[in-house]
Assembly symmetry: C2
């Protein structure tokens, strides 16, 4: 493996996250004079804009041209598109390339790559925990990676030196904490911290029809519904792909909500005081 | 009524919100050389600190001494304490004083004041929509009023000139939007934008025992549970005082959550896409 600064890095898909990763790789002078940052996107206008801004060194309307040049590739695609892309374009990657992705669920991707990946390639599934409710390349600047979490779910076959290389690259982009875990654990935790939260935000908006409700907002409503501005196709896919874990989490949440509702209905002051006090302590302990 | 700049303003209770109001009244040069900002608090240390900082012109350990001097009084107490205080100390207010409060529910306070207030006094119930999950005078600086909402629920007996005076004062503190409505409407809307959101945040923490869950946080979980750091006695009181409206809102929310859960369980892709798309549009329209 070359040193990071001399590598040719490729971003496949210059949407919100692909664009944000490109900015982090470019702005932080990750690359030296011999390093290159390339991108492929189906929209020629996006490639042109990224090139005009000096964000990328080369934009390729066909994936093959880019993939043949890259030591490292970030696949910035929705999960289903990603699996289709890998099945169709596996032959185009440069021999020995390191590949990673950014998808919000990992179980199906990890299983497919463990099973089907070309022998010489190394695929390390990843999930940068730093999105934005905005979408598209034009909004890429709204993602802030500084100090954020990044999850990796390495495969048994991953080469240790590639894992170290990727971790180093992630640190250089400004992320604050890398957690390595299994795809199963990732999907279980993310069902709670991300998907359940999006379901709740959507339900909150679904049950209120007053368009002027924000006159009565004091921060809580705004905080809880920022993420209701969701990308419907992507979140539909994430909810359904992680259905089993997400349904478990919804049921657990419903249990706690029901408990609080019953305390309120019964006027159970002591039980409420105790539960809310315990919640405050537990949240504080979570840091 | 004197002009605002020549008035003597009093804050009763220098906690988080009382302290934040004092800061807004002081920093914005609301008062001229003849105006005064006074405060009462049961904690002498807080009064001393506020005086040492130059935040208040006088700190009074006994409420009577302060109330006799004030043209305008902000009652910064929990709802139940407020009603007890008014019942016990009604005689101490200066003749003709304008009184307002900051409590998060208004129905019971409005009813009590409509019924029991001394004839010469004017009580305009209010609710500054700008708290913080932090508590106490030392954290008062964490409340930001700039551009925020302020709800007033005027009583039939309120004098128009006093209402105008209070609105002017609220604007000068930096609030961005004042909404005048009934106590009933306030309590119905706040049950949704504030209390339901706090119940949801508490339920989210109640159903997760992993203290290291924040390693998997990417913003959504943090946004939805910031307010789980709640002041248990105050929120217990707010939940129970507004029980009927809050239970209605919890049930509406449960209905929407159940709908989404069933779509996910059934793999109903089209219904999910449509609902999430409508949610995004509706949230955007709420501004």
């Amino acid at each position: 493996m070359k040193p990071i600064e001399d590598s040719t890095l490729g971003i496949l898909g210059l949407g919100l996250m692909g664009g944000a990763l490109a900015m982090a790789l470019r702005n932080r002078t990750v690359l030296g004079p011999r390093g290159r940052l390339l991108a492929h996107d189906i929209d020629p206008g996006t490639l042109e804009a990224a090139r005009a801004e000096g964000l990328i060194d080369g934009g390729f309307p066909s994936p093959g041209e880019m993939l043949g040049r890259c030591d490292v590739v970030f696949l910035c695609l929705n999960p289903s598109t990603l699996l289709r892309f890998m099945a169709e374009h596996m032959a185009l990657f440069r021999p020995g390339a390191l590949i990673t992705d950014i998808a919000g669920i990992k179980g199906n991707i990890a299983a497919a790559m463990e099973r089907d990946l070309r022998e010489d390639l190394d695929f390390i599934p990843g999930h940068p925990m730093a999105g934005s409710e905005k979408g598209g390349f034009a909004q890429a600047g709204s993602c802030n990676f500084q100090g954020k979490n990044y999850i990796l779910t390495p495969l048994k076959r991953n080469k240790p030196e590639n894992l170290e290389f990727l971790k180093d690259l992630i640190c250089r982009m400004g992320f604050g904490r890398i957690t390595c875990t299994t795809a199963e654990e990732h999907d279980r935790k993310i069902a709670f911290t991300s998907q359940l939260c999006h379901v709740i935000a959507a339900a909150l908006i679904d049950c209120e029809s007053d368009r002027a409700i924000t006159r009565f907002g004091g921060g809580s409503f705004e905080d809880l519904t920022r993420i209701a501005m969701l990308n419907a196709p992507m979140w539909t896919e994430l909810f359904l792909e992680n259905r089993r874990e997400l349904l478990d989490r919804i049921k657990q949440f419903e249990g706690s909500l029901d408990k609080l509702k019953n305390f309120i209905a019964a006027g159970a002051r002591e039980e409420l005081l105790e539960t809310l006090g315990a919640v405050r302590e537990r949240r504080a302990a979570m840091g």
